[in-house]
Symmetry: C2
Subunit: 360 residues, 2 copies
């Protein structure tokens, strides 16, 4: 089809304290499959107050996952899927509670529970054969838009690329701004900047339309309230706003595309394991010639929140490393095409991309 | 639940020319039930170019409905439902092509095909017992937000009130800005003002939150581009924008509520049959004390597009008529509560409401 037919999240609950509605929300689903739920929770919450608020049943499986060492991998998903199936068979559903990585794991596990073989087989658009199990996302950090996107980004042995189809989209999302109150300031900043960069990239390219502009421009406006204006900073009001900005920033990509920063960011993360939102910030500061207004404003926000981004990172990268990074980035043609137009191949050569990495 | 768990449209296609994707969009659904589709189309399009573009199959039923004489009624829905079922049994799905009234008819028919008895039994929230058939909406005029809302507004013998539940929400919406290009200027204005008034009312009340404000404020911004700013007027670019504004204005009500203008508008329409969007405009011009900024801007837009709204309409209404109108409006407490707060009963008395009607 010429025009994308996009799948929405089936149901959305938004509001302070809405996390306490998790139990009643999933109750009608408990009769499906082997009548138990899998919780996938960021290790950060282990032993914290949130555990007591889970409203889980004795039959449920709870996995705390440390997402700090690396972004979600295909191997990790395959192993976790095998473990769940061998332990209790097909669950009623999967609940992800955490940041973008946990959202991606929950989306990927939901689909891989019903699709055979390794998740590496399904990296790409519409490769998944069967609907997954019910899956519900509860973001505890805002900005990536993973709660609304159809993409479950996975790093495989060969590529960093998402599982992407209508079935990967969450059946339910619970957006409780109280859950993002305790995010450390640096990650509050990096993750929020993922939304900011989504909107700048979505706007500046050939693929946008009135739909993506309306969402992206409002998400930018909301980012300015949270990170730049008079009342900027971590506050309950701004947490309320940031959670909506993340959703709208994600929806701005529905009819548009990310651009140069994300293409480079994928290369950096794939080769060095750098976390996505942080990688974006490391890169975006050096793209003034490509996104002049966006980078200018980004630097104002950096200053306002006293964020220190490392410089001269590239000095340790030899030619072979730069080649590997640039190869990953080069192989994301839809991002380069969006950013530079149909003659993007003349601009985004391997040499050009390596030069961009040398700016870091 | 304290926080609303709202149901999204399952799938959305947006873009110029996307109407031509209707056939392939519904193809996978054709195997359901008695393997045919019901088209419900605004009479305006009978014999027009759009008919040739329907991509319907020989087995499909096509009903052209004239929505000018009155807004959709419960009797009309019951009769059409009985006719469809007796003619060909349960269809694969229902496709509505038209304005807000046609959207409401398509939503209502979808549910009433599977729920027994008169639609008057189901006027209200969550009264419908069974999922309806697949239903798809194609708006040909923008502003009411009916394409995104869970409400299928029906006028019954006793009340004007919507069928409202998760199942009334469309499974699919196709938003093709080319279809709204031929809307006559006065209705382009009245319908767009429905969105404008949704946002003003949604914003000014006790129920809004950051979610509804983000959607409502962006929809207001888009309305200003279409109706007020330098490039205001009917143009392809503005049609693109207006279609998104209508969607966002509708979504701004998800976590908020309409207010005084809609409460009065329901009374006016129920007793006099006045079309919803037009009724809103007749009323809103007189609510300067309640929505000062909104009415001021509304009047600027009225002047800009040389719209003539009748004055002194109320001179023909006797006390009994005013009583009937005010009774309908009085019985919408959630709107008055949103607008005036929890002590709304002290303000929105029958006398107060009748006085508001006397302003017209």
């Amino acid at each position: 089809m010429t025009h994308k037919n996009f799948k929405n999240i089936d149901r959305v609950t938004y509001g302070r304290g809405s996390f306490s509605q998790l139990g009643e929300t999933i109750a009608p689903i408990r009769s499906e499959n082997n009548r138990y739920f899998v919780y996938i929770i960021d290790q950060y919450f282990h032993g914290k107050d949130l555990h007591a608020r889970l409203q889980n049943q004795p039959e449920d499986l709870i996995y705390y996952i440390d997402v700090d060492p690396h972004e979600p991998t295909t191997e990790q998903i395959d192993q976790l899927r095998d473990k769940i199936l061998s332990e209790k068979g097909l669950p009623s559903g999967v609940i992800g509670i955490g940041g973008g990585s946990i959202m991606d794991i929950a989306k990927a596990i939901s689909s891989m529970l019903t699709n055979e073989g390794s998740s590496t087989l399904y990296q790409g658009l519409n490769l998944i054969k069967k609907a997954g199990v019910y899956h519900l996302g509860v973001p505890t950090i805002s900005g990536t838009g993973a709660e609304v996107s159809m993409t479950a980004v996975l790093t495989g042995p060969e590529k960093k690329l998402g599982l992407k189809c209508d079935w990967t989209v969450f059946n339910q999302v619970i957006l409780d701004p109280e859950l993002i109150a305790s995010v450390p300031t640096d990650w509050w900043f990096y993750a929020g900047m993922d939304t900011y960069i989504h909107c700048i990239e979505s706007h500046n390219g050939i693929r946008n339309n009135a739909f993506s502009l309306a969402y992206g421009d409002q998400a930018l406006h909301l980012c300015r309230e949270v990170y730049l204006n008079e009342k900027a900073g971590q506050s309950p009001d701004n947490d309320d706003i940031l959670m909506v900005a993340s959703l709208m920033g994600g929806l701005s990509l529905t009819y548009s595309e990310v651009g140069v920063c994300h293409a480079l960011s994928y290369g950096l993360s794939k080769i060095h394991g750098t976390r996505h939102c942080y990688a974006n910030c490391l890169i975006f500061q050096h793209l003034e010639d490509i996104y002049p207004q966006g980078v200018k404003e980004f630097k104002e926000m950096i200053r306002k929140h006293k964020i220190e981004l490392p410089q001269n990172v590239s000095k340790d990268w030899d030619e072979a490393t730069l080649d590997k990074m640039a190869t990953v980035s080069y192989n994301l043609p839809f991002m380069w095409q969006h950013a530079f137009g149909d003659n993007y191949k003349e601009i985004a050569t391997m040499d050009y991309i390596k030069d961009l990495f040398r700016r870091l």
